[in-house]
């Protein structure tokens, strides 16, 4: 078994272990007080740990690239986005784990989460530009623009029915803004994510593909999680809560795996 395969297996096992407590309620079992406690601690701490690890490996990857390498800027932006995101998650951990209080919505955590999006978006756009500079056959600029237009149109078509019930539900202005902002920001991020997925798929079978497959899977799952969260929050769909946690945990695990993959690629 190669080191990459071992790392993949380790991430998969840990991520599945972390989502296990959330699968009980999805299967109609609560698990009692122990289940509640497991979800509280495992959910919060695994999300924070994966994000901190992702940020750490992003920082270290950025530091390893030479000053004139276009990927250095990409990984710096990625690191800034992940660190900001981890700060938001840390706020939630303080409320839920340390203070044993339900985290308010909106809270300081949302300021960090929203602030992370420009960094993450910049990282993805820089990555597309960097891929273009490799000189490898990754498709034409025209094809990338075409993909952007198609994804934007699809996002608008999918986003409208998804967001309509959220907008119609009664909520305070800031809460309403965030309920709409998260899925909209995610759908915005989805455009460079799909372009990058199409490019990265040409590298299937190689380490470069594994780095971006992890990162892009992470962003896709984050998008799904935010849409589920908006429905859960705006329409009182408490049945969605465990699924929201599952998607977030898997998302952050995938981001961490991608960032570690890049660091290993630079150092092995």
């Amino acid at each position: 078994m190669t080191r990459t395969a071992r790392t993949d297996a380790a991430f998969l096992v840990v991520a599945l272990g972390c989502v296990a407590p959330f699968l009980l309620p999805l299967a109609g079992l609560s698990g009692g007080d122990a289940g509640e406690q497991a979800r509280l601690y495992v959910g919060n701490l695994s999300k924070l740990s994966f994000l901190v690890l992702a940020a750490r490996w992003a920082v270290r990857s950025a530091a390893r690239f030479e000053a004139d390498n276009p990927m250095r800027g990409t990984w710096r932006m990625m690191a800034a986005g992940l660190l900001t995101f981890a700060a938001g998650q840390a706020v939630l951990v303080i409320y839920q784990v340390l203070l044993r209080l339900p985290s308010p919505f909106p809270s300081l955590a949302d300021a960090f989460f929203v602030l992370s999006y420009p960094f993450l978006l910049a990282a993805l756009l820089r990555a597309i530009r960097a891929y273009g500079e490799t000189g490898y056959p990754i498709g034409s600029v025209r094809a990338r623009v075409g993909t952007a237009v198609v994804v934007a149109a699809a996002a608008a078509l999918v986003g409208y029915p998804l967001l309509r019930p959220i907008v119609a539900a009664p909520a305070a202005p800031l809460e309403m803004f965030l309920n709409v902002a998260y899925p909209v920001l995610d759908l915005g991020v989805l455009i460079p994510v799909v372009i990058l997925l199409r490019i990265a798929a040409r590298f299937r079978g190689g380490e470069v593909w594994k780095v971006w497959a992890g990162l892009l899977a992470g962003f896709l799952l984050m998008c799904v999680g935010d849409i589920l969260f908006a429905h859960f929050n705006a329409m009182g769909r408490e049945d969605l809560e465990p699924l929201v946690d599952v998607t977030y945990i898997l998302s952050y695990a995938a981001l961490a795996r991608g960032a570690l993959g890049q660091y290993q690629l630079l150092t092995s």
Partner: protein, 86 residues
């Protein structure tokens, strides 16, 4: 001078773990075309081989950094030399 097919196969083999075999082959074809290297000729000149490897390295720099890319280039040259010697 190395055989063209041997040189290309070696480059693809060394780069596949990083780029994937499909991309390594597609990039080899595209780079040869851009550099005017005839892929159907029996042998590849040293100048053409160096230019081709340099072109690959420029792209690889972006993914793995200059240090690792230089190590991969050395690996390619060593593998081609070993293949030529055998």
């Amino acid at each position: 001078m190395p055989k063209t097919t041997d040189a290309l196969d070696t480059i693809v083999k060394v780069l596949s773990p990083y780029l994937g075999e499909t991309m390594a082959r597609a990039a080899a074809r595209a780079h040869c075309e851009k550099l005017g290297i005839p892929v159907d000729s029996a042998e590849m000149s040293r100048e053409h081989l160096d230019a081709l490897v340099r072109k690959f390295a420029q792209g690889l720099n972006i993914f793995v950094g200059r240090e690792k890319s230089a190590a991969v280039v050395s690996e390619i040259h060593a593998a081609i030399a070993a293949r030529g010697a055998s």
